[in-house]
Symmetry: C2
Subunit: 502 residues, 2 copies
């Protein structure tokens, strides 16, 4: 009798405990799936062929991540970008992402998009003069020897190159001015300011050379070509719009520089009608006073009047930690905000609670349509709410943030948290040429393999591409979305057929 009761109670207990266990397992799996269902990409439904492509993509992705999980020192993406940028290009997944239609580049700076090899080629053009100074060089196109002072002496680049005795070495030394890539970044770029100095030096050194109107236009033309080659169909490009010059002594102001962009774009579009186009964000330097910002705004308005379809909006650029905070120009920017769309850089910092951190608030209250970087956003729960409420896109540039020393290991990039919450993210590349990256493929690859969840799949990739169209200033969104779908279907087909890797 007692034995029966005892047995029964054991059976009862184990039934109950099995139930409890099942409930816990169910709760666990529910949470897991609810989290996956809220990630960026959750609203994308894959068709049959997309699901097949997804299996191929996820196999490749899992191989890379699982290899790293077992042997962290073998995982490329937790190293410095300079170490892995070329290696990863050999991977099948990278090649696939390169072929993938990625939509638009919405955050990039005009003279930072092409590779140092391209820039080196520019130095072969006639009439380029060079002045070698202690730690830098100066470059200027001119029919005669330039009048500007030079610590040593101005020479024709051609003469300097061939009198050097070793053209190869000369070019390889010269090329170093056109890239911030070095062999030992962790020893040389020890803090954010030292790498920013080198980064800004690139723009100073190349500035006068690129300001030569024919070079300026060709660089833009070739940028559009490079975007197209990287399967980007549209770009909103930021420019400080410097004065341009030609060999006849003409000088062109910012408005004329904008016009020369528009004319170049028209030429490109007639050569490559399958490209979707480009718009301009006027983004002058922020390290100025309020009066100068007022002048910038007037220039912006004039460009908008002159090129209403080409002009997208206004921004301020330069290292936020060092430049004037946006609040210094609040009055000027508030006044112009009904006439100009804003696309402010903000929160490209890890100094929590400082003036550069607060730029995020100003960008939002000024009604920015998108925010550049917003790296510091995870420290601002209220601003995250505002960004969702106002549907402000965040232009995330993972590789830039790694190279410019905001974050070492991309797995710690705040983008992971943005993706988990399905914030309005667009991926972009900032100045890919300066660190020898492809126009957009490296950023997609790094975000997909190094930052996003191991479970994030083709739906996330597609959504990121679609976001870049949705958050652009393109008026006819239906048309570009339709164009995109055609390209996407072709891409999926080539993945499923295995043609994508060749």
């Amino acid at each position: 009798m007692w034995t029966t009761i005892l047995c029964l109670s054991i059976v009862l207990f184990s039934v109950v405990s099995q139930d409890v266990y099942n409930n816990v397992v169910k709760e666990r799996n529910d949470i897991l799936h609810r989290e996956l269902d809220m990630m960026l990409g959750n609203d994308i439904e894959l068709c049959d062929s997309e699901m097949k492509a997804n299996d191929i993509i996820m196999d490749l992705k899992r191989q890379e991540i699982e290899g790293g999980f077992l042997e962290p020192q073998a995982f490329n993406l937790s190293k410095h970008f300079f170490e892995y940028k070329d290696v990863v290009k050999e991977s099948q997944l990278f090649k696939l992402i390169q072929k993938m239609p990625k939509g638009a580049i919405l955050h990039a700076h005009d003279t930072g998009l092409l590779s140092p090899d391209y820039v080196l080629n520019v130095t072969y053009l006639p009439d380029l003069h060079v002045c070698f100074e202690e730690n830098d060089i100066r470059l200027l196109f001119s029919t005669n020897t330039p009048d500007e002072t030079c610590e040593t002496q101005w020479q024709l680049m051609k003469d300097a190159r061939y009198s050097s005795g070793n053209v190869e070495r000369f070019d390889s030394e010269l090329r170093k001015y056109f890239s911030i890539v070095i062999d030992n970044p962790s020893e040389v770029h020890t803090d954010v300011n030292s790498v920013w100095l080198k980064f800004q030096q690139y723009f100073i050194t190349t500035g006068a050379m690129f300001g030569y109107k024919p070079v300026w236009e060709q660089y833009f033309y070739d940028t559009l070509k490079a975007c197209r080659d990287d399967n980007v169909m549209y770009i909103e490009i930021r420019s400080v719009l410097p004065e341009l010059y030609d060999l006849d002594g003409n000088v062109y102001d910012s408005v004329e520089t904008a016009v020369s962009y528009k004319e170049t774009l028209d030429r490109f579009m007639s050569d490559y009608p399958d490209f979707y186009g480009a718009k301009l964000i006027y983004a002058p330097l922020r390290m100025v006073d309020a009066k100068t910002v007022k002048q910038y705004i007037e220039i912006a308005k004039e460009i908008k009047r002159k090129l209403p379809d080409f002009f997208a909006g206004f921004d301020l650029v330069g290292q936020e930690d060092k430049g004037s905070p946006t609040k210094d120009f609040l009055a000027e920017l508030v006044e112009a905000r009904w006439e100009l769309d804003y696309f402010f850089h903000a929160g490209e910092t890890n100094w929590y609670g400082t003036s550069s951190d607060e730029n995020l608030i100003d960008a939002i209250v000024l009604g920015s349509r998108r925010i550049g970087h917003a790296f510091a956003l995870t420290k601002h729960p209220l601003l995250i709410d505002e960004i969702v409420k106002r549907d402000i896109a965040i232009e995330v540039n993972v590789v830039s943030n790694a190279v410019l020393k905001l974050v070492e290991d991309v797995r710690n990039h705040p983008l992971a948290s943005f993706l988990a919450q399905d914030l309005p993210v667009v991926l972009s590349s900032d100045d890919p040429g300066v660190w020898e990256a492809e126009p957009l493929s490296h950023d997609f690859y790094v975000a997909f393999v190094g930052v996003a969840s191991k479970h994030a799949d083709l739906r996330m990739l597609k959504k990121l591409a679609l976001n870049s169209l949705y958050y652009s200033t393109i008026k006819d969104k239906d048309k570009i979305a339709h164009d995109f779908e055609i390209r996407w279907t072709k891409f999926i087909d080539s993945v499923v057929r295995g043609n994508v890797f060749y």
Copy 2:
């Protein structure tokens, strides 16, 4: 007439635009203040003397941050911990934080709390034998030469030391086994696994030496003393509870080891009745099978029966990326969850979407009262909600995460986002002795100056201390809170009088 109208409309416009501007400024400041008002510490009201102390503290904090903001390479806390750990001890703010009552240590491992100098002293005890092997040493107390095999030969440590010819060099070589601090961490500790190997080696090397019962008890006694010296009043200590031995050949099992802790605690409390006490979290190694976990659970239950007031709960330890995921033991842990309180390590990883990342979900569904690290939590918006809803504390160990290579620059530590959201955070130190940190002061200092907002002040410091009491397993919270307040008042008084720096 026209002029008047024109003037009027300009005045009108500028009144309107002034209004608009004022509204934007108001909105900006509202957001800023609402964010400050929701940070951890928002519910603390400072009295007059606390406000005076706060001014002193914030002056010191601002000096450090503003200096770094202007010259990032001068900012200690974005460097490697090994570089700045001693330098910062000289700062007034560090000294102040050291004197500050910090409440409890709720996440620390028993044999990782004391400095390598302390451990070196242990090697001066009689009867310690040493065996030098290729890349390691073995240490064992024994009356006679140990029977265990040795690649070379067992010697008395005393003999080895004095026959070395240079005691100073001998000791300095020996000390290296008791610390993971090295001069060039970024070159040697290139990934998370290589530093974990070194870290685990410390526990293996010291294990047999600490397992000698008199040393074991003295180490714990001196740990309590070190906590008290660092103005910590209570500790919940994790232990794998190894077998202990003595010179008479007795061996003590895990339950007896727990008893020896309790007896040591009683001795300490009678010597230092102003200390509040300690409890034990039994935390054996996770790299085992389910059957072994079942045995662990039985041991935990027995300790709980035997020492109900001393036993706090159960956890599993070891590198999560390499150990078995918690879900492997789900059935066993579900069954025991009404009898044991859980304090699981979880999400001490930056591998998003992997098994170690998912440990966070298991920790929550298993009803953990607190979670160790939860480093990956920012990637899990739903889990953040659950943690808030269930009031589960997060035991954050900033210095540990930096030293063990989860994050390079502490300004990117997820704690910043936890503090911004006022999540239930307690600060702790994990294994401070192994990286030569103070029991808790370095973690408070780094969190306050390097991670939290520039605006985070004394209210955050006080709240972090109070949280450590609130989220402890102490039954009489009123009593310890009262004790804390007395100490706190004394501390504030000494800050205001300026005595705190001496």
